[in-house]
Amino acid sequence: MSDSGFPGEFAIPPLAHTGLFGAFLGCHAISDAIQVLHTGVGCKGKTQVHLVEHDLGREAHAKVGWTELTEAEWIQAPLVRLREAARELCRRRRPGGIVLTTSTAVEYTGVDLEAAAEAVEGEVGVPVLALPGVASSPDLYSGYSAVVRALLGRVDWSRPPAEGLEAALAGYFFHRYEHEQAANLAELRRLAEGLGVNLGPVLLSGEPMEALLAAHHASAVLGLPYLGLDDAALGRLTMRPAGVVGLPLGLRATTRWLQALGGLLGVEPERVRRLIEREEGRASSRLGLARRVLSGRSLAIIADTPLVAGFMLLAQELGLTCPLVALLDRSLGGEEGLRALLDQVGARIPVTTKVLVAPSLLELRDLGGPLEPRAGAAPFDLVVRPDLGLAGTGWASIPTVEVGFPARRKHFVFPLPELGYAGAVALAGRLMDALFEAH
């Protein structure tokens, strides 16, 4: 349909959502929060519908309400309608908190969302997180991180931490109530416990608002890239020792995560070393088997920047080459951010790797090769990616491991992790299954 050279500024991206959906995703990841959209009727279509086939674990329809602003109300008294709607939604759904957002068009008329949030909170008695500007923010990740940061801003960090070693994890990308998420969290908690650390609230992880606001119990805060803050900013916000590291995906990244956690909490280095040695040893022997099959194969990685970094590291550990990586986000640092994440474990982007930053859907579709390639002629042996609009292209015939958001074809009824040492082993198994087309 297309020729090359189409201006990317007009083409639809593979993930077309902005922060409005990301904020909804963040709200969905707080078990008792609801999102109030101060918008016309159409903006509901930017939220819950995108989870219908992605999250089979939990219905999202009751997580959103909207003011159904009409043109007349928009002009006359838009905040009156907002306050009425928020009160009524609270009466019906009894949420533990509200995430308040509006659309770009409404925002351009100068609606003061923060003032509205203050008024609504006074009326309904639960925390109201206003997220001004989120609809015009670059992507879903920026909306998600806005929720996490707003929550961190509501925690009373002046209160003393609990006794014992407890850490909060901020910026975990919880996108559905399925068992890979539960498995990830269980694996991270297991590893933390190996250091004698209790992993407290995880922002976000399906926990209720009240539990998240108790994050002040933590004596340190470890951030992940989806938080959108650096070490210093996280430390200032939480008044705690804080650090931000890459996703613990693959052996080296998991080791780095454990080292950072131990370092923040002052865990004895020898204890950290022993745990890492034991865990790495166990996982390495299993990955050795996968290496025999996967080594030398090519893997394309299409995902958000932190996930790409994690998979690049895992690919190296499995002997896979990465001729192409595509960064789907527009807010997580781009190629420079990818370099920085790899650099945390002393890795680099191979010279043979092509890095695409925020490609358009048209551009991405063209890279999958012919729809029905002759044997051995597909451009990649494997691809790791979400479910994007790639039907009718060569991508459809390349063995695929579906990860991230959205994943409409891969669901988890069994707790199979992606993160931690156990996650590295599980992903190696999934890559092998995809290659052999035997699931």
Binding site: M1, S2, D3, G5, F6, P7, E9, F10, I12, P14, L15, A16, H17, T18, L20, F21, T39, G40, V41, G42, C43, K44, G45, K46, V49, H50, V52, E53, R58, E59, H61, A62, V64, G65, W66, T67, E71, W74, A85, E88, L89, R92, R93, S103, T104, A105, Y108, T109, A135, S136, L361, L362, D387, L388, G389, L390, A391, P406, R408, R409
Partner: protein, 434 residues
């Protein structure tokens, strides 16, 4: 009473009659904005066209992407930023976007959909579309899509169908010769009914359901007539087909269950002037076993109370929207269920009056109960003593949490040959071994 967006009623510019006003007031049709509806329908319609969303980038967020949604690469956006909006550069951006599409993508038609932002800026899309059409030779069609107001799914279906009709007929050419075949607008009657239609002499040329390709819509102008489940869903299309093209429209029930399938063929036989004896001899043997299966199932199911949900579904499916959402009710009625209608929305006196009028107009006298929010659905099912619920799929969790067996709307298949399978689904939902 403010709500999650389900109970405000406003006047509709295109509808005027008492029945139409009642239909709007009854609000049995979840609303959406034109952009969301059109984007959903266009994304699912294979064909050589492009869609431009003219507004802020956030509005591209209504497009659901993925392997199951082929065709989203045909979507483009002017992606207006605040500086564009403030400086009034919207039309310039739209022109640049259209030129790029016409030069690089070269589709047969480009549909431009406006947004709240373009409406806020007071942009007139038509002149830009006309100019670009003249300049590039590509047909460019503009439509307003602002979401600040009430737009029903029915209206969106009608507008989408009219746009596709316009895009496939070439007004400069002589009207195509009628093919002698029928088109089913908005639904697919299924393989068995299609086969029987052919055998009795009323073959189907195309089933123009959601997802039908543009090439199938191209058969619309040459069809002998058009089957509609409910003319009220397609007032503008029906008018265009009848008045502009002199074609016949035939209203027929959806062929589901014994009664629906019989009603469908009776309408067909009568309106197409078929020999009823000959047609009856063909369809009779298909109908007999289905009637027997219903009779057997009635012994088990008669008297059970079914909660039949209306007004919750947002799927742009004319089968769900036709006849106020009552299409599948007769399947349960012929099995002896006692229905209670569980209607989403408010219970204001004006709405209740409108509901009574609309449902009565379709001959439905079942009791009506209203729930104002999906979170109250389970409690209502329990309070009404429902022993089975037939409802929009997103209500499953609410029903099951209340301990009520659940069947999702749309699961019943058309034709006499599927009656037994439908009964099996109902029994399975009730937890009975087959």
């Amino acid at each position: 009473m403010p709500t999650d967006g389900i109970d405000k009623v406003e006047a509709h510019p295109h509808l005027g009659s008492k029945e139409q006003a009642q239909r709007i007031a009854a609000r049995l049709d979840q609303v959406m904005c034109t952009l969301e509806g059109m984007a959903t329908l266009f994304a699912q319609t294979p064909g050589d066209f492009a869609v431009v969303v003219h507004g802020d980038r956030d509005c591209l967020g209504v497009v659901v992407q993925g392997m199951a949604y082929p065709g989203t690469e045909r979507f483009f956006g002017t992606q207006l930023g605040e500086p564009d909006a403030v400086a009034g550069h919207g039309a310039t951006r739209l022109g640049e976007c259209l030129r790029a599409i016409c030069q690089h993508v070269r589709p047969r038609v480009v549909f431009v959909i406006g947004t709240c932002l373009s409406a806020l800026l007071g942009e007139d899309l038509e002149p830009v579309a006309r100019q670009l059409g003249r300049e590039t030779g590509v047909r460019v069609v503009a439509l307003e899509g602002a979401g600040m107001g009430f737009v029903s799914q029915a209206e969106i279906l009608d507008r989408h169908a009219c746009l596709l009709l316009d895009s496939v007929e070439d007004s400069k050419r002589e009207a195509p010769r009628p093919s002698g075949q029928l088109c089913a607008v908005g639904f697919d009657p299924g393989p068995e009914v299609r086969r029987l239609m052919s055998v009795i002499g009323a073959p189907l040329s195309a089933a123009l359901h959601v997802g039908a390709p543009l090439s199938d819509w191209a058969r619309l102008p040459s069809a002998r007539g058009h089957l509609l489940l409910d003319e009220a869903l397609y007032p503008q299309l029906a008018s265009a087909l009848r008045e502009r093209r002199g074609q016949e429209t035939i209203e027929a029930p959806f062929p589901v269950g014994c009664g629906g399938t019989r009603g469908f063929f009776d309408s067909l036989i009568q309106r197409c002037g078929l020999n009823s004896d000959e047609a009856g001899a063909i369809i009779g043997p298909e109908e007999g076993p289905a009637l027997e299966a219903v009779e057997v199932a009635r012994r088990r199911l008669a008297g059970l109370r079914i909660g039949f949900n209306l007004g919750s579904k947002k799927n742009l499916d004319s089968r769900t929207l036709a006849r106020a959402g009552l299409v599948d009710l007769q399947v349960f009625e012929e099995l002896g269920f006692e229905p209670v209608l569980l209607v989403q929305g408010d219970d204001s006196p004006s709405r209740m009056d409108a509901l009574e009028g609309i449902l009565g107009g379709y001959g439905c006298g079942a009791p009506v109960r209203v729930f104002s929010d999906t979170v109250f659905f389970g409690a209502l099912c329990r309070a009404e003593g429902c022993e089975l619920v037939y409802a929009s799929d997103h209500l499953r969790e609410e029903a099951e949490a209340a301990g009520i067996p659940f069947l999702p709307i749309g699961v019943l298949e058309p034709g006499w040959g599927r009656v037994r399978a439908n009964i099996g689904r109902i029994l399975s939902a009730l937890g009975e071994a087959q």
